[in-house]
Amino acid sequence: MIIDIENLEKSFKEVKAVDNISFKVKEGELFSFLGVNGAGKSTTINIISGILNKDNGKISVCGYDTDSHIHKIKRNIGIVFQNSVLDKKLTVLDNLKYRAALYGITGSAFKSALDETVEMFDLKEILKRPLHKLSGGQKRRIDIARALIHKPRLLILDEPTTGLDPKTRINMWNIVEKLRKENGLTVFLTTHYMEEASESDYVVIIDSGKIVAEGSPHNLKNKFASDFIKFYNHREAAQKYFSTQGYRFKNERDFTEIELSGTEEVSKFFKEKPELFDDFEVLKGNMDNVFLKVTGKDLHGG
């Protein structure tokens, strides 16, 4: 296990930000940590990375205890924060040089690390440009490059794609995926985008400092999300039939959507009323539904 957290607790005065949570992250996996703003995600990340002290509990990162070996842990982790924490007045090169030096990477070691980074992130054109003159997407690339310049085993991404355009978001994920495949990098992700969480190996959902659900996206969807049938024909008949059975429905321009509890119910109605099913679509619930079900909150609404 690259992260092993047991009974972690952290309070700020009366507010219990993290309330006795335990979870593990396997080496090489993409792990998603989901929750609305103020749920305790950033507090947990700050404790893992040594910015904050915990009140209680035991944390092991990369095989080291945070209480006794925080500096060894820091050498093995890279963090991309929600907002860029690099020096906007300095060039990309200066930012990378001064941050690499914090890990003891200087001289020829830096040159070699820089060459690799420039190639991986395609930075050649912007290397000598000050950060404040770059686009949002370019800045995000530099944030990730900075987090990876010392070749960490664990990359923590704290809402890394918030505010990015779709193309930049895809580019960023392509880089992260490449690193996972080629270097076995473990990624600890917090995000508001459920399609990103859907790609994870394991998901933990936290609400008011407590873990409310965890598992693989597939298992969580099976356990918590509804299935939906879209009827494109026989819309009125389907609506009448399902409403008498007590199901919720939604009329859209081209289809009527019925929410069912799961795949078994879909099979049951397919057998009972096959005449309704001549132009239809079955959709499995997504992570948004899971999140809404377990927390009662809309992730995008905060």
């Binding site: 820091k74 924490v85 020096d87 300095l90």
Partner: protein, 313 residues
């Protein structure tokens, strides 16, 4: 050794961040220069008159170039001794900006000691303040050279040493006070307060000899006062020597004492004259005390006893 390399890199980074912001550098530089212009425009004649009055009492006239030169030198000693402290407060902005922009979190997740980071802010602020003060000194010396230059290379060297002592004092004081500040508004407020008050309480804007005895004794407890005294000595000695050449040798010492007493090159604490060595001792002793407080603060922060939180990322 590795920690030393990290320290050097952080100092370079802090200094570069400061000088990349041209407005910040310009504002630090312009404040002492405005002070110089204001002094020359509004106060020069008052001090020229005071020097002339002392000379008249001894029955001599001061040669115009010496008179203009000593007035300019006295004004420069005021500006440099005040600016060594006030510029240090204004230039420490990188430390506050790092907290404000949450850049400090990036350092917190890196394998560097808090001590290294704190020391890097102190060293880079010292460098930046030194560069600004040297620029001000250069401009001030061009002015003195234009009106009447009598300083020797040795005098200029000692003035630079005095600047270094003053900057050390100012940088440590700024490092301690501003370590509690987290906003741009906070640093602006502190800088404004220090800029407006420090010149008066250390006797730089007005000679202490013009204050009441009680106030003089109170100000005698402040180490900054002696920083000004040291600078006054090294700026004025060459001119005083030039002036007393014109007076009857039997009155030379008395005249030199009168000028130095009237313009704070001689300082008195509870009626006793403080020697130049003692002035250095007090200033450097104060630096040692401030250094101990700075180290204690860094230690407490390192142990997270005194948490100075930055803006959340």
């Amino acid at each position: 050794m590795k920690e030393c390399k990290k320290l050097v890199s952080l100092v370079k980074r802090n200094t570069k961040c400061y000088f990349k912001d041209k407005v910040m550098f310009f504002m630090s530089l312009i404040t002492p220069l405005i002070l110089l212009v204001l002094f020359v425009t509004f106060l020069k004649n008052i001090y020229t008159g005071s020097f002339t009055q002392i000379a008249t009492e001894f029955g001599v006239a001061i040669e115009p170039r010496v008179l203009e030169g000593i007035t300019g030198a006295w004004l420069m000693s005021s500006i440099l001794s005040v600016s060594s402290v006030t510029v240090a407060f204004c230039s420490n902005v990188i430390m506050v900006e790092d907290k404000m922009n949450a850049n400090i979190n990036d350092f917190s997740v890196s394998p560097i000691k808090n001590t290294t980071l704190s020391v890097s802010y102190f060293i880079s602020n010292f460098f930046v303040t030194f560069i600004v003060i040297m620029c001000v000194m250069l401009i001030g010396h061009i002015y003195i050279a234009a009106v009447g230059w009598y300083l020797s290379v040795g005098d200029v060297f000692l003035i630079i040493v005095d600047c270094v002592c003053g900057i050390l004092f100012g940088t440590l004081l700024a490092g301690i006070i501003e370590s509690f500040i987290k906003t741009q508004g906070g640093i602006s407020a502190v800088s404004t307060l220090v800029s407006s008050m420090y010149g008066f309480i250390c006797g730089a804007y007005m000679p202490l000899s013009q204050f009441s005895e009680g106030l003089r004794n109170v100000l005698g407890f402040l180490p900054g006062t002696y920083g000004v005294g040291i600078m006054r000595n090294h700026y004025m000695n060459a001119y005083v020597d030039e002036i007393i050449k014109t007076v009857d040798p039997s009155k030379a010492d008395a005249m030199a004492k009168a000028i130095k007493d009237g313009f704070d090159a001689n300082l008195y604490f509870c009626g006793n004259q403080v020697s130049l060595g003692a002035m250095y001792g007090i200033l450097l002793g104060a630096c040692a005390v401030l250094f101990a407080v700075y180290v204690l603060l860094v230690f407490l922060k390192d142990k997270k006893i005194l948490a100075i939180k930055s803006k959340k990322c």
